[in-house]
Amino acid sequence: MDAFLRRGNGGDEPPTVTEDPDPIEELRRLLLVAEHAQVAKIQERLDDPEIHAEDVSRVLPEAIAIRATKDRELTRVMLPTVEEAILSSVRRDPHVLVDALFPVMGPAIRKAIASALASMIESLNETLERSFSVQGLKWRWEAWRTGKPLPEIILLRTLVYRVEQVFLIHRKTGLLLQHVSATSAGVQDADMVSGMLTAIRDFVQDSFGGGREQSLDSFKVGDFTVRIEQGPEAVLAAVIRGNAPPELRPLLTETIEAIHLEQAEALANFQGDADAFNRSRPRLEVCLKTQQLTRADRGPEARTRKARRFLRTALAVLLIGVAVWSFFAIRRSVRWQGYLGRLAAEPGIAVIDSGRRGGKYFVTGLRDPLAADPTAMLAESKIAPESVIGEWKPYQALHPEFIAARARRVLEPPATVTLRATNGVLLATGSAPHRWIEEARARSRVFADVARFDDSGLTDADLSELEALRRGIEDRPVSFDPASADLRPRDSVRLEALSRDLSRLARMAVGIGKTVRVTVTGRGDSTGTEDVNRAISRQRAERVTRALAPGFARAVTFVVRGVGSSEPLRREVTEKDRELNRSVTLSVAVAGGAPEGSR
């Protein structure tokens, strides 16, 4: 039949009844009249595109389904057509496609935007939160030190985190499907944690959440953040220590999506046996991320450490420096205060102002020129003179010692004189030459700070000497032999000495503006007559005067007397007494401007 049909179908002659009756043809027509009608019908079907399309449409879905299971050829073949169709549809009227996709795209776009916003807000919050904390200050310091912009530093520092545990939880039952942990320590019973996490999520959703889309995405417990990423069947919960970066969320999302894709069947049929989810372990382990940036990029960290060590050393050096500086500063200050104390105690120095200016000490005040030298005093206080600026204005101090000192400078007293000042009185003690005393009396009257010059305690050295000489001269009588007016040879030395002393006395007296009168008195003893005695006594006086007088022509006035025995030096009992009375004595008078009390 097949062959026949093929022939009938593909033959040169059309399968119709012809007028030219061929017996064989006729026979065939008679024999196959029913089949012929069928063939004609089939032919008609094949030729009619409408009927043909109808036929294909009946088997098309099945055909596509069968082919799709065999290979991807159908997809490949159809792809350009479908693309073309979509393109032309969009070109013709974009609204059609927009309307079609809207229910899908709307939530998808919303979700994407919400997720991006959440990430952004998260990092923004982080930044703001850290800005004014100690950490923030540290970052600012670091930014300033390294010259990097602050956001970069914050980014660098906030990225330190570790995902410690990841739970894959069956959404409906809260049962644990899989659990991976970065550390073995501190892992609580994971299946109970899983249950509690689910309970907490349910609680939050019941209490605050509205629809299914609004659910607990993350919460913080101390250092830990729990990030929850939910799929339709399972939930991924990551326990993160430290600051979870926003980039972590996409990873969790991808992971939960991949698990849903790969284990869709196991999730749908979950009856409490979690073994099937061992397959997802590697995926969860990928989520156990530790901040890699600083680990992998050792450079900056090492540099930071180095910088930190440098800082620490610098700080130590600084501290030592400060300590040393403080020590010296304190010592300097103590010395300076000591110096100021000394200045204050020093007579003739009055400090008006002192302090520190331009790294140097300064002191201003008044200073008596006779006072101690402030610069020299610096050395006593162990202060370098160049570190101090001193400004001193001269003045006269009224301290007694300064009054005395000034008097000394003017009066120039001899070493034997001591000058003191008390209550405006200048006291002179000791001994001084007559002339100095006279001058001091005159000059001291011009001292503004001296009311009176008191020299009652002062001995006139010249007058004392004169007096001593006088006494020595008067105490040496020159004796004569009885009834003789001749000098005894043995007295010549005595007379010479007498002459020398007298001459010295005369010189001194003249030196201080005085005149000397020497009364030469001759005597006789009580033997013999008084007339004779008187004459001889006068001769004796004249004789001595002659012996002494030549050297004192102008300076000394000699008065010669002969008194006989009327003024005996001693009452005559023995020959010795008589010998003493047969003598000449000198009496010296210093006169002319002689001071009171001079003898």
Binding site: T173, D191, M192, F203, D206
Partner: protein, 166 residues
Amino acid sequence: MIQKKVCMLGAFAVGKTSLVARFVRSLFSEKYHTTVGVKVDKKIVAVGEEQVNLLLWDLYGEDDFQKLRTSYLRGSSGYVLAVDGTRAETLEKAVILQSRAREMLGDVPFVLMLNKADLVDRWEVEDSAIDDLVGQGWSTFKTSAKTGAGVEEAFLALARRMAGST
């Protein structure tokens, strides 16, 4: 290992928490119980050859069932109805809770624990009422969280039935 979620249901102060505590060690603090309204404990029991990990959701007992968070029931493979044998009204509550749980979970295994069995002289629940429930196919156990009597047995029975139902 098979895991099963089990909810503890019952009126206020019937001793649900004590029953769980008697049965397992407690991991989470009581704080969860009052704030979140649930505390999860676990206990591994052997059912024949198999180990079954029971995750016991101890729900905060409320007198008004409306206040119970039904979302906590979701996904339970079984539940425990706890009754205070010395308070007859808690049995009525248990019956109401059972119907609610069945609405949510369907026909999953459950057991009724008539707790405080040690307080014999104050016992209120009529045996006839229990017989009634047993007649409806309920499995009931007299338990005492205080002495431990019947507790293990009741949980094991539930575990066995849940394992069988998979």
